[in-house]
Symmetry: C2
Subunit: 150 residues, 2 copies
């Protein structure tokens, strides 16, 4: 896909991640874009804010988009490589593409998705990586809780 | 695990599934039990009721349980074999065991979970199978939407 468009879309997810950090939450953001480039949903990790462990960023963006007949042609954009839970979301619902801000902090299921026909675009964005690196250093117990390593 | 206990726990998930059917929803229910046999959370698919496509039964039960430090020793009980999304949930958070009411209607990620060290107990329960069979026959478009085959 067009790298300029991928970076514009990542900016939406990054805004969500930064807002989450400001709320004392896990700073991961996501956005779901339709095949025509329209924003369908956006969200951020809400474990701390809502006490909801299922509210990973990708799930929050997917929920925000509401019911859709099909996800063919959609793109899930996320500041951090998706965990198994959110990778399963992408595979089950047939989301066509994933744009990953960074996968240095956490690799997740990106290779598994690519093996199963999902287009995976890794931007290796320094701002996304710095945000997560700082968070993991500051709040290791919260990060471990969020990925089930508690 | 003890089959009597598995069947008692499945009854909780089945109550949820039946309640969902009564609400016009997708009739799949789930419950999360702790290592000591205590009920941590329960829920049902809420796609129709809440307009929330992320509210698969297992996710609803996981959400209902709130934040947990660890899922070691927990059991996810579900009336229907978990889809990739909910299988990813089980794997990511280290839920130790899955009790499946039936896997005739939908096989999902149960083999993948077993390969990755999750204990999978399939009860092949006739009431769970009949409930789903009737639903899929009556509302094929809703069922397909719920598993991303729309």
């Amino acid at each position: 896909m067009d790298q300029e468009q991928a970076r514009r879309w990542l900016a939406t997810a990054f805004e969500e991640a930064r807002a989450g950090l400001g709320e004392g939450g896990v700073p991961i953001g996501a956005a779901l874009y339709g095949g025509g480039g329209e924003l369908l949903g956006r969200g951020r990790n809400r474990r701390v804010q809502d006490g909801d462990p299922s509210a990973h960023a990708e799930t929050a963006a997917f929920r925000d988009a509401g019911r859709q007949r099909s996800y063919r042609g959609t793109t899930m954009v996320t500041t951090l490589s998706p965990c198994w839970y959110c990778s399963g979301l992408v595979r089950q619902f047939g989301i066509s593409r994933v744009v990953v801000g960074e996968d240095r902090t956490f690799r997740g299921g990106r290779d598994w998705l690519a093996e199963h026909g999902v287009e995976v675009v890794v931007l290796d964005d320094p701002a996304c990586a710095a945000l997560m690196r700082g968070f993991v250093a500051d709040r290791p117990e919260l990060w471990n809780e969020d990925i089930g390593q508690g």
